[in-house]
């Protein structure tokens, strides 16, 4: 099954038409892509890599991120277009390909999904029910789950890149990895373990068979319940919907009672859990937390 549009189709049609008609068909062949996820999830990194890759392949490319005042805290969205001829305007109404990696970003990209749009989503964080398109146009990879379990949570976007490269753009594997390692060169140089895991993640995703009928359960989303840990002397309360996973409480705990867990907070990123036996109820976590997401009460 080929998911590719425009690129593949245009090649077939091109072989059937006269030379002087080719220009007219190619003139309007713009492929429109929307990428969306949480701020801080690396959506713009994916966009930059894809844009660079498409430029290298000789296309005219346009890329613009969605822009609000805040640095984080709202969904991160990018708009990419590529074509064999010049692109005049950075935005559009309906996308050919939409990728959404987080539930909170769905609202932002809904208007770009048309009846012919192909949709890629992270099934480990979003339920298939959220989309009304029929299955022939909906594809998924449980990117967060795979990242958490195998490749490290910093590699969700690399997994997404692998999938996009192979399944949606038919981009050569090594060429795409070249571009990724150039773009992330500084980060890779600082952290060899990350670089190795990223390569594994990319290779894995490139060959991954996308989910189309059976989807992973969306268990990797913000935990709805409050986390309560108690013993006879104290009760600790952690509120996932306020916790942004900054790790300051973990740093400031004098007895190392806090450590990151698998519970996900407001951005779908891991938040700490507490070992209530180690805890001495010093109040540091509460005192330092920027978002009032944790508190220990002495009995």
């Amino acid at each position: 099954m080929s998911f590719r549009i425009h690129l593949g189709i245009s090649k077939k049609i091109l072989n059937q038409v006269q030379d002087d008609e080719k220009h007219d068909i190619m003139k309007n062949e713009i492929t429109k892509i929307v990428l969306a996820g949480e701020g801080g999830q690396g959506i713009q990194t994916i966009a930059k890599v894809l844009s660079t890759a498409l430029v290298s392949a000789g296309y005219f490319v346009s890329y613009i991120p969605q822009f609000g005042p805040e640095q984080r805290g709202t969904p991160s969205v990018s708009f990419i277009q590529f074509s064999k001829s010049e692109i005049t305007y950075p935005k559009f109404d309906t996308a050919d390909i939409v990728m959404v990696l987080r539930r909170r970003a769905i609202k932002t990209i809904e208007s770009y999904v048309g009846p012919k749009t192909q949709l890629l989503f992270d099934s480990s964080t979003i339920s298939r029910q959220k989309f009304s398109l029929n299955n022939s146009r909906v594809f998924a990879i449980p990117a967060t789950k795979l990242a958490e379990e195998q490749f490290g949570n910093k590699n969700q976007n690399i997994l997404a890149l692998g999938v996009l490269a192979k399944n949606f753009l038919d981009y050569p594997k090594n060429a795409m990895w070249e571009i990724i390692s150039t773009q992330l060169g500084k980060k890779f140089a600082k952290n060899k373990d990350l670089a190795d895991k990223s390569k594994l993640a990319f290779d894995f995703a490139y060959d991954f068979q996308l989910e189309t009928k059976k989807f992973t359960k969306p268990e990797y989303d913000t935990c709805e319940e409050i986390v309560i840990r108690k013993n006879s002397e104290r009760t600790a309360v952690i509120v996932p919907k306020y916790c942004k996973g900054c790790g300051i409480c973990v740093l400031k705990c004098p007895v190392k009672a806090l450590s990151f867990s698998k519970t996900l907070g407001v951005y779908g990123t891991p938040i700490p859990d507490i070992d209530i036996e180690k805890c001495i109820a010093c109040g540091n976590c509460f005192r330092f937390c920027p978002d009032s997401a944790i508190r220990v009460i002495k009995k």
Partner: protein
């Protein structure tokens, strides 16, 4: 009455509906706003506060509290506060701004408010760069500090070294003004200093300014531990405590 899971450990004067806030994970300004909220709660002045906020990440606090808040222009939370306080002296007026709003575009108004002893409180959040626009160099950036507009490190011989704002303001401020610097690494001190500054406005009808050294993991590109390490570096350059006038300078 707020239930446990709604208001939770937040100050009572917080506007719960605006949480989780739009500030980044680990934002020092979030911490400072929480400390401000705690002081307002313990001094029982939540019904008397008017807050004027500058542009920059500070603008994200426009609906942060359950009291009147006015978002102004860059460097203008001080003059708005001055006019407001003059019109309604009974309110406790706080102007909130970052290091750009205080020491670059808004410095003129900050100095003159201190000079006139306008009875407002200016809280300056110093994280050595302009955060909302992506981490550009600020007057308070350290020599050699890498920012978006000093990618090879801040060249002090061209842009000046570390800008000591409270010390500058102290030199021209009226004697009754209270001027201090605190740091988010010492939450208790942040609250003590804010409380003292507020009382200086209420009791002594005088100007107060508190600069608070803050962290910005997002634009510093650091994690929690690294951020607090850099903060410790800042504390060596920017002394914490009440700022005393240098009497040798006439």
């Amino acid at each position: 009455m707020k239930t446990l899971d709604e208001q939770f450990g937040m100050p009572a004067c917080f506007n719960v509906k605006s949480k989780p806030s739009l500030f980044c994970p680990g934002c020092g300004e979030s911490m400072i706003l929480k400390h401000l909220g705690n002081v307002i709660d313990s001094e029982k002045i939540g019904s008397k506060i008017t807050l004027a906020i500058d542009i920059g990440c500070t603008l994200l606090s426009w609906n942060y509290f359950s009291f009147d808040t006015i978002q102004t222009h860059h460097g203008r939370s001080v003059p708005v506060s001055v006019g407001y306080k003059m019109a309604n002296g009974k309110r406790i007026v706080i102007a909130l701004m970052g290091d750009g709003g205080a020491y670059a575009i808004g410095l003129q108004s900050l100095l003159h408010a201190a000079f006139r002893n306008d009875p407002i409180l200016a809280i300056v959040i110093n994280n050595t760069e302009y955060s909302m626009t992506g981490g550009q160099m600020a007057p308070t950036s350290l020599p050699g500090e890498i920012t978006a507009t000093s990618p090879l490190g801040k060249n002090a011989s061209i842009f000046g070294p570390a800008f000591h704002g409270p010390e500058l303001v102290r030199q021209i401020a009226a004697p009754g003004a209270f001027i201090a610097r605190a740091t988010v690494s010492n939450p208790t001190m942040v609250e003590t200093v804010i409380a003292r500054a507020i009382n200086n406005q209420i009791e002594n009808k005088s100007f107060s300014m508190v600069e608070i050294l803050s962290i910005c993991p997002t634009n510093w590109k650091m994690n929690a531990a690294e951020s607090f390490e850099f903060l410790a570096k800042l504390e060596k350059v920017y002394p914490v405590g009440e700022i005393i006038k240098n009497k040798n300078i006439k």
